[in-house]
């Protein structure tokens, strides 16, 4: 029996004590003699360098982030690098200390090993602040409180001889320090944490602290690293080498094997990665633990077995029962093997659900699924994508239900619903099966709520990351969308950005008074461009009023979708319109403020008249500004 599959389950959506995740995995790996899935965290280098020879004057470090971001794991890497004992680490004590030698001269690391050149620095490890701090409502132990007070002091003392490494969820971090006795240093420290957290910074001048928020790491990058190690784990090879029979574990008919092989295909990986990357661009961060959970569930998931994850002993039963296809990877990716309540409580499935894959569709896709079999255009696709897929594609049940559905002989609603459920599964499958070449023809992204997501990734994000320029029509479309929101009219202009107000209320729905038109093409310092900000990993839409006067707008996927749809259709999808609309009005306010700043620098002679430009539209939707002059 496979120890590996048993062990792998620990990474899946099983009930567990979250605070002890890393410890549990380590211990169980040790016990079973299996190497855990380990890969280098994108921040690992930076964090290791904070304590290594790159630094002659180390400062305290706080590792924060959400549950499952790998805080404990990274702490352990530092502990190992500082030659801390493994036994100490294996203890349950959330607080450990270690001494390490750093140069007395705090500017450079000396060539010589001469002891007198070094000072011994005590490093306090609080590897789990929440496990160490008192429960809510309870009082601090005196010792602990003294220690944290000391920590706050060291932050502001340039000659401090002790440093700290603290790992904590951001909420717990703020909460723990709020409960400390109010001293000058504690107050300052609290403010520093809050600023660093909310404003996404790593350090502040004059504060001896490096602050790593692991929740800012790119989910897509974590995914790349995780899936590589996940698929390359020697456990899989061992399974294969046993040369199992068809219906054995990891035999030809074994759903675990089929899922594993599907996951190895570049197309599935690319689509999955795209979803995670889109999460990043919507400001949703997926922690490492959730990525491993996703992968594990994708391979082991089955709705009918214990805890909905297959054990080796389940495999023959599942095959015998003919329900292997219910373990299909495409459904497992969305947690469809889990109960509704369980699924909704898992972060990654909550995020993926927002794409509504399986529920969103287009006529073309549904025609393919329902009538594609005999269609001369779609037949090829039906054949390759549905018919030939013996594992997740059409089986006898599907054909029968389809026939019933089309012929409509039964009045049984339940049967129709059954077919509709199958369609959901098939659409999910299509999302991972439609090859790159057919993406456009079959409107792949209409399988998600974000119809422009593919374009966003390929023609905006990738183009900008390569340092190239986004195609003109795409920028024009965004500008048109902006103009429609800014004026509240179905304006068709896309060469200039129209800033308009209503006179009394900057958030008014309709704005008829034209304040300014900003040229999209570079002209006299004005321009509207899309650019990539490597520091934050964001796509920005920047409006320039002058070379030194510009306003940035974080062009998230959802905003891109919103603007594109307004530009193309004029109508707004109600589900996400409110939030984007508010954001865009706030953006307009900032633009008008920047415009006013530029005007304040112009030394115009005081005007004797009041000039207003009133905006209306021609029948074609073109702007028809009209100047009105008033003599006071």
């Amino acid at each position: 029996m496979s120890h590996w599959l048993r062990f792998l389950r620990h990474y899946g959506p099983v009930p567990r004590n979250d605070n002890m995740y890393d410890e549990t995995i380590q211990r169980s790996a040790h016990r079973q003699g299996i190497a855990p899935i380990e890969f280098e965290h994108p921040y690992q280098h930076l964090i290791a360098d904070s304590f290594g020879r790159v630094t002659a004057d180390p400062v305290s470090v706080i590792l924060t982030g959400t549950a499952g971001d790998g805080k404990t794991h990274l702490c352990r890497q530092v502990w190992k690098a500082l030659k801390g004992s493994e036994d100490d680490w294996a203890s349950d004590n959330p607080y450990l200390t270690i001494r390490f030698n750093y140069p007395k001269d705090r500017t450079t690391w000396p060539e010589s090993e001469e002891p007198s050149l070094y000072r011994s620095v005590k490093i306090h490890f609080i590897r789990d602040l929440s496990g160490w701090a008192p429960q809510q409502g309870a009082d601090w132990d005196v010792d602990k409180e003294v220690l944290l007070q000391k920590f706050c002091q060291t932050l502001f003392n340039p000659n401090a001889e002790e440093i700290f490494l603290i790992a904590a969820n951001d909420g717990q971090l703020v909460e723990s320090f709020r409960r400390l006795k109010d001293t000058e240093e504690v107050r300052r420290a609290r403010q520093v944490f809050e600023d660093l957290l909310v404003e996404d910074q790593q350090e502040q001048p004059g504060v001896r602290l490096k602050f790593f928020n692991l929740s800012r790491a790119s989910s897509a990058e974590l995914f790349d690293r995780a899936i590589e190690k996940f698929l390359a784990h020697p456990g899989w090879d061992e399974l294969k080498q046993r040369v199992p029979g068809e219906s054995d574990v990891f035999g030809l008919n074994c759903p675990i094997r089929r899922n594993y092989e599907l996951l190895c295909t570049p197309l599935v990986q690319a689509r999955l990665r795209a979803l995670l990357e889109l999460c990043d661009y919507n400001g949703l961060h997926v922690p490492v633990r959730q990525i491993l959970l996703l992968l594990t569930n994708a391979v082991l998931g089955h709705p009918d077995v214990g805890q909905h994850l297959m054990l080796p002993s389940d495999v023959p039963k599942v095959i015998a029962a003919g329900t292997a296809s219910r373990a299909c990877l495409y459904n497992n990716i969305f947690g469809a093997n889990l109960s509704d309540i369980r699924r909704q409580s898992v972060t990654i499935f909550d995020f993926l659900e927002r794409f509504q894959i399986g529920y969103e569709t287009s006529n073309r896709i549904d025609n393919l699924l329902i009538f594609g079999e005999d269609d001369e255009n779609l037949g090829v696709y039906f054949d390759t994508l549905i018919e030939k897929d013996k594992f997740c594609g059409a089986d006898d049940r599907f054909y029968a239900a389809k026939h019933e559905y089309i012929e409509g002989t039964s009045e049984d609603e339940e049967k129709d619903n059954e077919f509709l459920r199958m369609l959901v599964a098939q659409r999910r499958g299509l999302f991972f099966k439609i090859p790159k070449e057919a993406e456009f023809e079959l409107n792949l992204w209409e399988l998600t709520v974000f119809r422009f997501a593919g374009e966003y990734l390929d023609e905006v994000v990738d183009v900008l990351r390569r340092g190239a320029v986004v195609k003109r029509p795409l920028v024009s479309r965004l500008v048109k969308g902006l103009n429609r929101v800014f004026t509240g009219m179905l304006i068709n202009s896309d060469r200039e950005l129209y800033l308009a107000t209503s006179g009394n209320y900057s958030q008014a729905k309709v704005s008829r008074i034209l304040v300014e038109r900003v040229s999209v093409e570079p002209s006299k310092g004005e321009k509207v461009i899309l650019r990539f900000d490597p520091a934050s990993g964001r796509v920005l839409l920047s409006v320039f009023f002058a070379p030194d006067n510009s306003v940035d707008f974080n062009l998230t996927l959802i905003r891109y979708e919103f603007l594109s749809r307004i530009a193309m259709e004029g109508a707004l999808p109600a589900s996400f319109s409110k939030e984007c609309y508010e954001d865009l009005l706030a953006f307009k306010s900032r633009l008008i403020a920047a415009y006013s700043k530029r005007q304040a620098q112009e030394e115009a002679p005081p005007s004797l008249t009041i000039s207003l430009t009133l905006l209306s539209l021609t029948k074609q939707g073109n702007p028809d500004p009209r100047a009105v002059e008033i003599v006071p």
Partner: protein, 492 residues
């Protein structure tokens, strides 16, 4: 009769909705400020006297003038248009002795320009699409040249139909707060800083000599020399005025706050009179797709709060009945007349009483009359103001309850968060200052065990969090940590 007035002042008036309260307030404030005594009763409480402008040229042009589009269509040349329009206005304009609109030609190059501007100004006016009489429509208060008082149908005098003195009450409240000096500076600073363009445009729609002012307006009365509600209101206005909110966007928030605090004032004073020692609670539902326990409790609380003012009126009369004066009077000879005198003095009532000469009957008639009068207007403040400011709503159900709108949430956030605070601190603050309850911590404090359901209220605060997030006012970090952020925080 002087019962509602004795309890809450002269007077709270339900038909004067918060925007009109604010406009009336601005009239008073501007007048008093011109006299150099803004927010200063000069040691003589309740002797406020002021005049308000009428601006009937402006109002005839904007609100009593349906001719513009038709004239533009039917008359081709600019001079024909002007002539025809002025001819019509000469007879149609109301409330002006010698209507003469020729001054407009000095300000506009063409009749078309004039029409465009008039339509633009109208589009930002208040009550412009309601079916209120034209004399009860108001230009947005861009500046002092936009301020005037409500008038009757003949445009001759303020009939107290929509300017029912609640704005005067608001003014008096602010005169009696600890931070009136700071508030005056902030308010004047804000008004002075506002973009003058629009006020100038409005001035162009009035002749320079239009100085038609009302008679002296007097008799506003606010019974309390100070009250925590006044201070809370002033604190909120001050906090909001100090923010970096662009242009005139600050006004709707001031209006919401005025409405909220007037409502709270009415309920708090009622509770004081009733001797209730527990604080006021306004338990809010963040509208959920399905009926929840929170909605039920909120409906109940709304109902019981809604009855408080009427109970206060009852108690007020009962207090008279139980007073030593009254008890002595009914025991003496000539009881009826003595009692009648007491009621004349305490409730300004009894002159027209024609029932039997029995003190018991007399006071029970007062009780009837007072309740009847109370129900007509004062009793509706809680509901009408609540709905108008977005606190009270029927959304998703048939019963009224507290279910704040996005706009009100914004107002509350701006008044209570200087830069940013943690969400649960924000909730605690809203509870402490207004009795607003959203989350489980606060609900647990105010509800009995069988009414309280932790999950339901956690869901409620989660929905609040989502709303704030979608308004761009919340920064969620990770589980258990979210900051409420004020984007208009003024960097000092």
């Amino acid at each position: 009769m002087w019962v509602d007035e004795a309890i809450w002042g002269h007077r709270l008036y339900d038909e004067q909705l918060p925007w009109f309260v604010f406009l009336e307030f601005l009239n008073v404030f501007t007048h008093e400020d011109d006299k150099g005594r803004a927010f200063d009763e000069q040691g003589k409480p309740n002797e406020l006297k002021y005049r308000a402008a009428h601006r009937l040229y402006l109002r005839n042009i904007l609100f009593n003038n349906p001719h513009l589009p038709e004239i533009r269509l039917s008359y081709p040349s600019d001079s024909n248009r002007w002539d025809e329009w002025m001819r019509r206005m000469k007879s149609a304009a109301t409330g002006l002795n010698h209507p003469e609109f020729g001054f407009l030609k000095d300000h506009f190059h063409s009749f078309d320009d004039f029409c465009e501007v008039a339509s633009l100004v109208r589009s930002t006016s208040l009550e412009v699409n309601s079916n209120k009489r034209w004399t009860s429509k108001f230009v947005f208060p861009y500046g002092r040249d936009c301020l005037y008082e409500d008038l009757d149908n003949n445009a001759s005098t303020n009939d107290r139909r929509f300017f029912g003195r609640t704005g005067e009450l608001l003014y008096l409240m602010l005169c009696r707060t600890h931070c009136k000096r700071e508030l005056m500076a902030a308010l004047k600073g804000r008004l002075a800083k506002a973009d003058k363009t629009w006020n100038s445009v409005i001035r162009c729609l009035q002749p320079t000599s239009d100085e038609d002012m009302s008679n002296e307006r007097a008799n506003a009365f606010l019974p309390y020399a100070n009250h925590p509600c006044f201070d809370d209101l002033a604190d909120d206005w001050l906090a909001t005025l100090r923010l970096n909110i662009p242009g005139f966007d600050v006004f709707p928030h001031l209006v919401n706050l005025a409405g909220l605090h007037l409502l709270k004032y009415q309920l708090s004073v009622s509770r004081q009179l009733l001797g209730l020692s527990t604080p006021l609670n306004l338990l809010c539902e963040m509208v959920a797709p399905k009926k929840t326990l929170v909605r039920e409790v909120s409906c109940d609380l709304y109902q019981s709060n809604n009855l408080l003012p009427a109970q206060a009126v009852e108690t007020f009369i009962t207090n008279i009945e139980q007073s030593d004066d009254w008890q002595r009077a009914i025991a003496e000879s000539g009881a009826f007349e003595k009692c009648r005198r007491i009621l004349k003095e305490k409730a300004r009532w009894g002159e027209d009483y024609d029932g039997s000469s029995d003190a018991g009957e007399l006071i029970s008639r007062l009780r009837q009359d007072a309740m009847k009068r109370h129900r007509q207007h004062v009793a509706n403040i809680h509901r009408n103001y609540g709905r108008e400011i977005g606190l009270v709503s029927k959304r998703g159900t048939v019963k009224l309850r507290y279910a704040p709108t996005d706009a009100l949430l914004k107002t509350l956030l701006f008044a209570n968060v200087e830069k940013r605070i943690e969400l649960h601190q924000f909730l605690a603050r809203l509870h402490f200052r207004y009795g607003l309850v959203f989350g489980d911590k606060e609900a647990e404090q105010v509800l009995s065990k069988d009414e309280f359901d932790k999950k339901a209220f956690q869901g409620n605060s989660r929905r609040l969090e989502q709303r704030l997030g979608s308004l761009g006012l919340l920064r969620r970090l990770s589980d258990g940590c979210a900051y409420v952020v004020n984007p208009h925080h003024a960097e000092v």
